[in-house]
Symmetry: C2
Subunit: 135 residues, 2 copies
Amino acid sequence: MGEHMQIGEVAERTRLSLRTIRHYEEVGLVPPSARSKGGFRLYSESDVQRLLLIRKMKPLGFTLEEMADLLGLLDHLATEDPDDPRTVLLDRLTMYREAADQRITALREQLDVAVAFADHLQQQLDVHTRRARTP
Amino acid sequence: MGEHMQIGEVAERTRLSLRTIRHYEEVGLVPPSARSKGGFRLYSESDVQRLLLIRKMKPLGFTLEEMADLLGLLDHLATEDPDDPRTVLLDRLTMYREAADQRITALREQLDVAVAFADHLQQQLDVHTRRARTP
DNA sequence: CTCTACCCTGACGTGAGAGTAGGGTTGTCG
DNA sequence: CGACAACCCTACTCTCACGTCAGGGTAGAG
């Protein structure tokens, strides 16, 4: 529980850059759960988990603000038991899921286009290297 | 051959924004092949093709500068017949192809991660909607 | 000539960081 | 205790690929 590590170790473990981690604090996405007397950022294990979760979200193309919102949503759902505002939360969560689906479709298209283009490049290479080797 | 269209039509046909097309000129990626007396950009059919090709490259994550370079390379290969500097060109082309492959691998990973995350969201939704409906 | 639809430049804003400068902190060793 | 390396801090400017005004000019039909 007193397992606080400083930014360098967090960077290693999450493979995020120091700058990125600091940036996430700047925008309120992942504030370090403590600071040393001297001002060093100190992160807990769950901070690291949060950062790793964010890394997983990144391909979905959400903004940092949206990720903060979504993380808050998930925390809220996990924590709170009274079922009053739950439907609202679930509606919002549903929106994120739909956005994610759309993004996945877009990613698939991008991948196809990318593969097609790479093939095109390879064809150019084939054509021109053959010409050079078998005149 | 006198088939010059202005920026709006180009935007429609390529589905790029006016701003983007202008930006591509700003950085020297696709300068319009002519201007009207009054200063309107006039694009030819092959300009449009170039823009469409650029759109295909976009998922590969090259910078505009790299795309300009690559396009130049392809033009050069298609046009020039003397085979002196060709090996150099082909080497560079090979580098781009390798970069493309790497990027494709990255895209596939991103896609997997994205799908996994979307599933995670869906699970959250399932869990919490079930609780709400079947107490 | 006027009207509308379209276009222009120029300048500033944005998101998500990268990079740099200049300086402070921690913890270990002698 | 002092010295030292390794690590960290803030604050700032820079990047890329555009978006977003603001203010004004152009093309061509009627």
